[in-house]
Amino acid sequence: MVLVPVRTWRKPLDADKVKPPVGEVHLVKDRCKGCGLCIEFCPKKVLEESEEINARGVHPPKVNPNNPCALCGFCSAICPDFAIFTTEKNAKEKESKEATRE
Amino acid sequence: MTVATTVAEKPKIVRSGRRFMSGDIACAEGSIAAGCRFFAGYPITPATEIAEHMSRRLPEIDGVYIQMEDEIASMAAVIGASYAGVKAMTATSGPGFSLMQENIGLAVMTETPCVIVNVMRGGPSTGQPTMPGQQDVMQARWGSHGDYEIIALAPSSVQEMFDLTVDAFNFAETYRVPTFVLADEIVGHMWERVNIPEAESIRIVNRKKPRESPNPKFAPFKPDADLVPPMAVFGQGYHFHATGLTHDERGYPRTESVEAQTRLVQRLCNKIRKNKDKIVRVQEDMLEDAEVAVVAYGIAARAALSAVRKARVEGVKAGLLRLVTLWPFPDEQVGQVARRVKAMVVPEMNCGQIVREVERASKETPVIFLSKLGEEPHKPEEIFEAMRGTLK
């Protein structure tokens, strides 16, 4: 929506406090069938087709480090092959601990 | 199974005692006594009374009666109920029986314990709904596509409608196979005195349960020595899969493997064939010294008995071999008799079905076939004349 044109040129003072979570993308490469849905519909354009060829002979997606993941999880929701999912970056250690505990 | 005498209110599950009832009702009562708590069916003469009686009885004893939209659905529902752990039955006649065939195959493939009652009437097609017949004997054996074995019993009295229905359930549960009660219009509609035993004295068999508790490696179709796998049912945490596709012991589809196909189909046949002696039952009358034997089942067996008695009075050494189990076929028993007698007479209310099996089993011994179609069953005289004829 068009608000009163205010010049928002500064980094907001609370920018560091209210940092939205950054996601980490995990690929189960060999499950990928290369349909490209995750790449197409990622709102942050985090994913792109990779050069490598997986066990199924397709190019699985790869992460573009310049575009941080917003953790919406749509890639994982739309993937027909359970080949991709996301976790919160800083939450990773704690999570992996749990994983090992299991 | 406890007898419901405790609460005066509660309707009895097994209505023990001497009772006067029709064959269809006896069948229904038998199924209940055997532990059947699920009936899915579709109205069809002359089996309708079974459904009607079930619709009255099952709700009283926390059972489920449901009239489905057709016999295809009825058979599918029965399989579903059985996989949910409940003993289930359906009852029909010729046309409905035909509709059930595909899912009977599914029951075979998924080794589903269930009972299908076919009160046979005159066919083919709509034929003669109110007239008796024994024309579905071969369909019961071969009706669904592919190779398989089933069990079929042929009651010839109202008492047997009760007893054999109980047995049918026991066989189904023991061997995880669809089991048929092949009655006919006369036996179904006939009223007779029935002696229903006390609940305790009724032998009830329940399917084998898995010995292992749920685990990721669980194989729902891994057979025991008797070739019958213990049966897991839904809702117990086994998370198992069953399919009409050729499958391995895990229950997973194996649609391209020759090995899997051979192993599965052969086991499905062998678990019946190898246990034949435990399944097959016949009734012998005055065969010890008989020169001619009548081989009969169902309603025809009743005329045959009086024919044999008459023959004995007339001095003809006649005897009766009544087939209680039609499938698997009692070859040995028929063979033994054949070897002892000069000839055999086979009265059937069709154009010759079991007679082919009798001929196969009795080798050189001549077999006379007495066909009967329509309202009238065989008259004892006809059978007697046929026997005397063989001895001339």
């Binding site: 929506m1 068009v2 608000l3 009163v4 044109p5 205010v6 010049r7 928002t8 040129w9 500064r10 907001p12 003072l13 609370d14 920018a15 209210v18 939205p20 979570p21 519909f41 990622c42 709102p43 942050k44 917003a70 953790l71 919406c72 999880g73 749509f74 929701a77 | -």
Partner: protein, 808 residues
Amino acid sequence: MSKTEVETKTSQQKDDLRIGVYVCHCGLNIAGSVDCKAVAEFAATLPHVVVAKDNRYTCSDQGQELIKKDIREQKLNRVVVASCSPRMHEPTFRRACEEAGLNKYLFEMANIREHCSWVHLYEKEAGTQKAKDLVRMAVAKVSLLEPQEEIVVPITQKALVIGGGVAGIQAALDLADTGYKVYLVEKEPSIGGRMAQIDKTFPTMDCSICILAPKMSDTVRHPNIDLLTNSEVQEVKGYIGNFKVKVSKKPRYVTKDCSACAECVKVCPVTAPNEFDVGLATRHAIYTPFAQAVPSTYMIDRNICLNKENVIVCDKCIKACDRKAVDFNMKPETLELDVGTIIIATGADVFDPANLVQYGYTKHPNVITSLEFERLINAGGPSGGRLIRPSDMQVPEAVAFVQCVGSRSDNANLYCSNVCCMNTIKDTLLIKEHWPDTKIHVYYVDIRAFGKGFEDLYQRARKEGVLFVRGLPAEVFENKKTHDLWLVGENTLLHEVYKTKVGMVILSTGLQPRHDSDIIQRLCVLSRTPDGFFMEAHPKLRPVDAPTGGVFLAGCAESPKDIKDSVTQASAAAARAGILMAKGKVTMEAITSKLASDKCTGCQLCAKVCPYNAITPVPERKKVELIEAACSGCGTCSAECPFNAITMRHFTDAQISAQVDAATEVDADKKIVAFCCNWCSYAGADFAGVSRMQYPTNVRIIRTMCSGRVAPKFVEHAFARGAAAVLVAGCHIGDCHYINANHQTKKRVERLWQKMERLGLDKNRLQLAWISAAEGEKFSSQIKEMQSIVNSVNSGELEKSKKMAERG
């Protein structure tokens, strides 16, 4: 009065016209440069004039009584007053006539003040001559005037208020409390406007939001107020008392079930600078602009939300909301409102100081604007009320305020923004209150503490030790390491150069018209003053009325003003609108078109040019049909009709030709006949008068409601009469008060030019000019420029052009 009656009545009157002419001195305003007595004496010589008098103030009671008396005693049946602009006093004199029993449409004015005395201050003779001409023209017209009957239309007793700032809120509340249904349209997600952003208000220093918030909640709770936020006015049709308004309401994507629990905000993965905090704080895609927002319902900014179009990729807010209030399926709606009055309270924008590079705004982090200051000093703001430097979050030891940023300057806005001085003084006191030791320098041009309690506040600031230095800094430098700032400039009182080091510079930014004012201007056919703010119908006597009937102005939309003035003006506007609606009906000026069916051939040319679809063709009867109620009286149909089948009441062909004749009776070859539209060009000429812009005396202005009324035959007639030049002037294209009637003006003038070229005439003699009500300057220079053309016209040329009408 039926048509036939009118005809018979007028035909009788034709025989014995009795005209009274009254020449007004207007003190010395007119008499100072026009010999009013001579004009009156001249008037007496004109046909049918039976009374001709001059007096000091014709508009005074005595003046009016005199007219009434003469009407009664002298049996006057026509009245002319030569005084100021009809846009000023025509209603006054019409009333007088009516009170004396004379149909008010039998009155005419000669504008010898704005169009004569004030613009020819030093040419008494020529001025007087012109005044005589103007009276001659008025008399010529008045003798052809006919009594008219006004149609009365009902007024919808509902009001539309555009803009939900404090002015809009006040106006809405006042009208709603009076008992009228009010639609309050605000394009932002919340009402509150600028006042909600401000920390404290001067001079009382009370908390801005604390006094505003209750009004805001009153507004949303008021049974008579229909609050439409996120909404913008799309279309305004109709006329005073009967506006049809289309409002487009953007979806919030959050339903009314929202309890403002903010759980959604916690999970929203996207952020953006919060506009409300001028970008100093962060908001999420799902948000509420500020804590006290009204309505409190949250909304989703789909521009940054991850969910675009049909694809919901992110469902975090949906899941977080217990009340299931998030609804991405909401669609934009268009509401159609019927209202009788419209109040425009669209507020103002804040000047963007980045344009003034010398202050280094957007280059030096510690240079902030006064609006940013408000958010910083506000306890509920991004810094929790701590005045911190964006560079290091430290409270500065010294700060400097720079005044008139964007105001009173050639390279920004010329006008004074009116609120900045007091705002700064208030701010300095706030700083002193929290951090008494802070050194505060205020660099100003003049301190304008004109209002109630303002001077006290100013003195308090001085006592508190705030240093006021006259002379704005020439430049602000930054120490790249410390981010401290150096201000360099001249103290114009001490005539010495100053070089001050401070931790923070606050630019006291001025106010300017909304960047999108032109939209509202077009929708409500308004005018704007040279500074770009909306123009009132009259600067003194109708300060809250817009020139368009039924439309009123409130708050900074009209001119920069503080909260008190905005609220005052809002209540005034509400009262004005209320008066109109209380009447329940309004009489429409009887200046609409009439169709003479017998002359109509059904050619449909008129239907094609009518901006209001008031004319519908009836092909089967080879005629057209005219709906008078829908007609607004621009007269472009009449100008188009080749068969004179359409008459414009009160602006008939005959009346206008008569004015042309009168204007060209003497020295035609030296004269410019100017046709000016009532709303813009005529008002522009008035404005030139008000501003005393001097220009040559040889122009004779004929007023038409719209330039679209000017039929080619009028121009040709002027030339036929030997006029040296003709000016056709109207509203700017797009600003036409009759939607687009002036497009026809353009076409017609172009056709005339072609014809003149064909006939080998100098087409420069016919000028077309777009002059707005605010462009007095433009009007006078237009007349000045035309002098060379007038001088260049030779007799041959004149003779040729006299025949122009006859030749095809």
